[in-house]
Amino acid sequence: MNFDFFRVLSYWDVLLNGLGITLLFTVSAVIIGTLLGFIISLMRVSPFRVLKWPARLYVEFFRGTPMLIQLFWIFFCLPLVIGRDIPPYVSVLLAMVLFMAAITSETFRGSLKSISGEQHDACVALGLNFRVKAINVIFPQALLRSIPPLMSNNVALFKESALISSVGIADLMFVSSNISSSTARPVEFLTAAAIIYFVVAFPATRLVDLVEKRLLLRFT
């Protein structure tokens, strides 16, 4: 069998377009999901059961089921449940946001927990009230510690986003299998797509490592 990887070049703009869609969905979901995740992590560390338990259940559920079924459920079932139409890109974004919020809330919770008891003691000894302690001492440290794992979460979401092709969103994955079949050249185009994903994700993971080392150097 002969391969013609030059074929890929003539479709580069289409593939890039797909990547654009992928990135658009990823970035939007990262922003909204991270904010939501932060709120959920606060619910989980709060002393009130009414906040704690729903948050815990939510996180366990979204971490305990395949993202594909979450996507399907939100895409097909949610409109039936609420009895209203939801535009497809909203469904997909919602699925990604909910998934992202579940994993980032764990990240935030981990960093909140990792702040030693001694820091809390020091706040008492300095007479800091809850507001100052939270805003000036605990959150900044938790946030700094969360940066590297949050960045990893973003890369993970970027990769997981390939799933949205399965409900017809024209992302990189969708576009490449679409071209594969219409040009009858799956090897070339699927390989190209894999390489594009890699080219974006690999430097990102390196960056995570770098930032992690920097932060460790500065704050320990």
């Binding site: 366990e60 971490r63 395949p66 986003s161 799933l163």
Partner: protein, 223 residues
Amino acid sequence: MNYTFDFSVLVGNFGPLIEGLQTTLLLALGANVLGLTVGFVVCLLAMAPFWILRLPAKMFIEFFRCTPVLIQIVWFFYCVPILFNVFLDPITMGIMALGLNLIAFNAEAYRAGIQAVPKEHHDACVALGLGAWHKTVYVIFPQALRNAIPVLMTNGITILQQSALVAIVAVADLMYAGKMLATNTYRPLEVFTAVALIYFFMSLPISQVVTFLERRQDASVER
């Protein structure tokens, strides 16, 4: 909400779901067997002193960690036969595609476990006259394994969940059975909810064990 639930569609249709579940378990189990064994070998290669061994292992790991599982599976299913002219049954292919992914992630878990063994223990081995082999077998590996277990288990559940992706290439797993049933009965809500719950209750006990193990390891931070 104007939807009337009808979970009775599930009653007569548990057969295909159970069959799908069996396939899902087989896929997850097979991938884990590959991941736990070969992952260890790849980890050793990635830590080898010779770049000839190290480089390909690292490239393998990075490639699988930095591309979506979906494209790995799709690529494996459609491109491998074209490229290499090999035809395996879909379940074997599924196990291999998922297994390769898990190998990469587990290799990293093993590596982290090995690196988490305190540097002082290497020194202690020298002071005790333990050679490289004894040190590795009796001191480093047992501790590394213990360190790695929670991550290995987490990776194991993740691959159980990722195995749902093989439905997209028509391997008849739980997700696929669910999709078929949803299409045939026109009852996606009931079917997908049931499928989601099945996945959830498979992952839950394992993730509870992981939480327990992590807590225990945190409690015994000592040299």
